[in-house]
Amino acid sequence: MSTTAIDTQVALNGALNRNAPLRQSAGVQVTDYENRQTVGKITVDNPKMVCREVNVHYGQKHAIKNVSLDIGANEVIAFIGPSGCGKSTFLRCLNRMNDTIPTARVTGQIKLDDDDIHAKEIDVVQLRARVGMVFQKPNPFPKSIYENVAYGPRIHGMVNTKAELDDLVRESLERAGLIKEVEKRMLEPGTSLSGGQQQRLCIARAIAVNPEVILMDEPCSALDPIATAKIEELIDELRENYTIVIVTHSMQQAARVSQRTAYFHLGDLIEIGDTDQIFTNPRHKLTEDYITGRFG
């Protein structure tokens, strides 16, 4: 008990100073349900995004409590946890989508590379072009497939000619693994596609602006297993070029697609670590209960 407390204390210190080496004794388990301090190593060697002491309030509700973690470049990190644990809320902090909710208040530091995303000189438009997002429910615009993908490059003025735009749309659809299915029907409405195709269209739309990070908020929860498998395959391929943060309800999915996993519970980041370790050897009792299906 006393050793674990020290252990987590070290982890937290590490969180505040990410260059400090972390000491983590394997095999020690936090059995105290009341211990809300993050277990595991929150830092990575090559961080893309760095979040420190992030708090989110919705009016009176404290939705995210002092969460600190790093998101490594070109890694897939999965956020898991029971409903209402704050994983989606935290995800939406990363591209400031919480700004759209009038009652939401976000404090703490979030850095993308070396830019503080809350800094005055960072426009939210620029941030969202760099940090793309794919939503839970496929939400293509009620426009043609082509227009859906072309929208981002167009509003950001990324291309100059129609030919360039055509190429970009094709390439994005190709990278999203959708080109074969939609090649002949580029001008049909995006909403005419099946659910899985729509979600891949949304991914194509997100990668068309070549973001650095892609946030995925339960991208497969509305899809059947075959469509889910395709998306997961796609996520794996996209990892080469992008950093991906995925929120998922499915622990199998987290285990399949991610390299690191963070477990949230009631607004606290309970445990974070390599996916293998989290699923085979969870160090916090809450994590263990969740992944073994005791609750959640």
């Binding site: 591209n95 009038p102 620029q126 793309g132 939400n139 509003i155 949304c202 997100a206």
Partner: protein, 439 residues
């Protein structure tokens, strides 16, 4: 833990047959349902009956007005009388005495008629418009001069009313607008096939007139048109912009709450109050002309704006948030999100609301009375500042007049107004169906 509690809760029911308990109440429940259905049926049938009654009444009264009696009169376009100098000078042609031609033509048909009063009675068979009709024909085609033509001339309102069977010939002569001799002539003309009912083009060609057979709704229609153009051009853009700002951009605080409540209240303000406001502000303060469609349009814009704003906001809220998130997530600015995605999706709803608001403005008369659009105006307005009246006010004006022919025209004008209303509502439905997009 749970199961025993559930059973304890059921104790009062133990030993009683659930089936009989439920069945006992069933008859009462079904009866209530049947009663409710009957109430609904009765209400709907009553409503439909009144609609049918109203339409039957209006159409029955108004449809004869679309047909007008004409008399075939032989006219000799005497060169000596019309153009004694033979120069075909338009000025001379315009001022010639065409009424004399009509009188001569009528006398030719009834050569036996002698004396000043009988001759006057004879020429009263045709409308005073008959002379203008001949003038128009000659001016259009001077080649008529010197020829002999049979011309269909507009009959007077009394003849028209008689031909339509609305004057009882058994009444004493003094109590009806036609004399015995006139009735006799009409009978003769009828027997000779020289009296006929033709489509009433005058109704759609002329402005208002004291003579019912010459009174038309053209002036009122144009007045309504100009007024509605002003109303639409003002209220649609302002209404849509207000709705978008309030719904998408304005912070939600006490001030916007107050504004919202006030807009909702404005939609319920009696329309005559807007008329008073228009009178005070536009005419007395800004000095705009009375009776002008411009002022009418301004007043009706004030009245229509809240309707469009409310409809517009409802249309905006019905756009799913997922579309907004998608646009914002792509890095669209708020204005881009609204302009590219939200507004196109909300547009059908906004258009529908606007057209319904416009239809209401088309049928509005009270506020326009206050700004002087109730005047008797013969000339058809040609622009936004000409004095004019509008269709509902024209109906109101005609409904006051005692002549049978005006009663008929009142109903006819109502039919035209209703036709435009149905047209506009149909357009609203069409637009909604056409531009509705699935998401």
């Amino acid at each position: 833990m749970n199961k025993p509690t559930a059973r304890e809760g059921a104790t009062p029911l133990r030993g009683r047959n659930i089936k009989t308990i439920v069945n006992a109440g069933l008859a009462r429940r079904h009866a209530a349902e049947r009663r409710f259905r009957w109430y609904g049926l009765i209400a709907i049938s009553l409503g439909l009956a009144f609609v049918v009654l109203m339409f039957a009444n209006i159409i029955g009264k108004g449809s004869p007005a679309f047909w007008q009696t004409y008399i075939r009169v032989p006219i000799s376009f005497d060169a000596a009388a019309l153009d004694p100098e033979g120069k075909r000078d338009p000025q001379a042609l315009a001022s010639a005495d065409y009424a004399a031609l009509v009188r001569a033509g009528l006398r030719q048909m009834f050569p036996a008629v002698e004396g000043r009063l009988p001759l006057r009675a004879l020429s009263a068979l045709t409308s005073s418009d008959a002379a203008y009709e001949l003038q128009r024909r000659v001016q259009d085609n001077p080649g008529l001069i010197g020829t002999q033509q049979e011309v269909w001339l507009l009959a007077s309102a009394a003849v028209d009313t008689f031909v339509k069977g609305n004057i009882d010939r058994s009444l004493p002569e003094a109590e009806r607008p036609l004399k015995d001799s006139q009735i006799e002539w009409i009978d003769q003309l009828r027997a000779a096939g020289k009296i006929e009912r033709q489509f009433n083009a005058v109704l759609f060609r002329n402005g208002d007139s004291r003579e019912p057979e010459q009174a038309g709704i053209r002036g009122a229609l144009m007045g309504s048109f100009f007024t509605l153009v002003v109303t639409f051009l003002l209220s649609f853009p302002i209404g849509v912009a207000t709705a978008v700002y309030l719904e998408e951009f304005a912070p939600k605080n006490r001030w916007t709450d107050i504004i919202e409540v006030n807009i909702n209240n404005l939609a319920a303000v009696p329309s005559i109050v807007f008329g008073l406001l228009g009178l005070a502000v536009f005419i007395n303060f800004f000095g705009l002309p009375r009776s002008a469609p411009l002022v009418g349009g301004l007043v009706l814009s004030l009245m229509t704006l809240p309707v469009i704003i409310i409809a517009g906001r409802a249309a905006l809220t019905s756009v799913p948030p997922s579309i907004r998130e998608a646009a914002l997530g792509m890095g669209a600015s708020k204005l881009q999100m609204v302009g590219h995605h939200v507004l196109p999706l909300a547009m059908p709803g906004m258009l529908t609301g606007s057209i319904i608001g416009m239809a209401r403005a088309l049928g509005e008369s009270a506020p326009l009375l206050m700004i002087g659009m109730v005047a008797f105006i013969v000339d058809v307005p040609k622009n936004f500042l000409d004095p004019s009246t509008v269709l509902p006010v024209q109906i109101y004006l005609w409904s006051d007049l005692p002549e049978r022919a005006f009663v008929e025209r009142t109903s006819a004008a109502i039919m035209v107004l209703l036709a435009f209303m149905i047209l506009m509502n149909g357009l609203a439905i069409l637009l909604r169906k056409r531009f509705e997009r699935r998401w």
